[in-house]
Symmetry: C2
Subunit: 193 residues, 2 copies
DNA sequence: TTAACTCGTTCACTTAAGTTAAGAAATGAT
DNA sequence: ATCATTTCTTAACTTAAGTGAACGAGTTAA
């Protein structure tokens, strides 16, 4: 499991054995059961998440209805808005599947980063990269219809459609569950001819 | 004009006079006329933009139609996806108004950042903050209807609705110009009673 | 000044998403 | 194993966005 982490890190910076040991000594790995809520609306936590295995999601509860807005799977990192800005969270974070997560908190990072400046560099590269990637995703979302978004997802993250409940996928695509059902039926009908 | 920049920077790190001078000596400020294209699709540039005055936008051209996906106004920073990943750009960047911009390129930043580690720290803070903020914007977009998005924009960036052409706003809201017109008429009708 | 364009709006029509409701299928809990 | 709950699908109806076309206002160019 640690290898997955170090392989990932090695894409950005190279670590010495000492640095690897220091990182492991922090006891960051956690197994979390499906359905567990990692962050609640209104909560002021300092925890960031890195998915080693499994899938987590961010969701809002609006008028009693869950609205899932993002999924994070293997090698995805999530630092909640509330952590960056140190304000109560607008959304929930929950486990879609049993997960193995790396959970770090801000205080810890400050310490690590001052000891190992490499981490600062890596974090910056990571957030720059994620920012640019997310901009593209947002752009694509804006210029696509729900149907195009679904087909696009089918191409880019086919695993999600298998591992995630439909009603969560629907709000992720910006539509209602019934519309997703209909849209899928429509596509199937078309492909038959 | 430089004060605007230094005021902005001071929110993240404090600069010595030497550092300020070093920054100014780089000759980063540029006046750019409305309509100027700063980055073209397919181009591999290394330039990042920081808006001191005016408004720039990112847009795609799809089947000959412009699709505007983002606006950047005073104190907004834009590092194109293509710069981060060093690939040809998928989109254009253009000036909506006459602008005063800070334009930096990657090579330059590497040099500056190694001389002044503070800049690395600031850049990381900035991209973390922007990433988190953009996540929220994306979430709001997903869970809103076009009408809610428009009303939301009216609250949060009322200036945009004044300074930007309707058809550019429309794709920014994920709809066609005709739909925006209709939607506005609908809202006006409602407010009359 | 006129002609050509762009921009915003409106209209009629088409298509697709929202809404409400019902029922089948799968999942979980006791 | 059974019951309850959640999830997914289908259907009928409503509402809103997409499409194609036309028009006037404002701008630019000849």
């Amino acid at each position: 499991m640690q290898d997955i982490l170090f392989d990932f890190i090695s894409k950005y910076v190279s670590l010495t054995e000492d640095e690897k040991k220091a990182l492991l000594s922090l006891d960051l790995f956690h197994s979390v059961k499906k359905g567990t809520v990692l962050l609640k609306e209104g909560q002021k936590s300092k925890e960031s998440f890195f998915v080693l295995k499994g899938c987590i999601r961010t969701f809002y509860i609006i008028d009693g209805e869950e609205k899932t807005t993002a999924f994070y799977t293997e090698l995805d990192a999530l630092t909640p808005h509330s952590v960056v800005k140190n304000v109560p969270s607008d959304y929930f974070i929950g486990c879609v599947e049993d997960c193995i997560l790396l959970i770090s908190n801000t205080d810890m990072s400050v310490e690590v980063n001052s000891k190992f400046p490499k981490f600062d560099i890596m974090c910056r590269m990571l957030s720059e990269e994620l920012l640019a990637k997310q901009q593209i995703d947002f752009d694509e979302f804006k210029i696509s219809s729900p149907e195009q978004r679904y087909l696009n997802l089918l191409q880019k993250r086919p695993d999600l459609i298998q591992r995630v409940p439909q009603h969560q996928l629907a709000s992720y695509l910006g539509i209602k569950p019934q519309s997703l059902s209909r849209l899928r039926a429509r596509i199937l009908e078309k492909s038959k001819g």
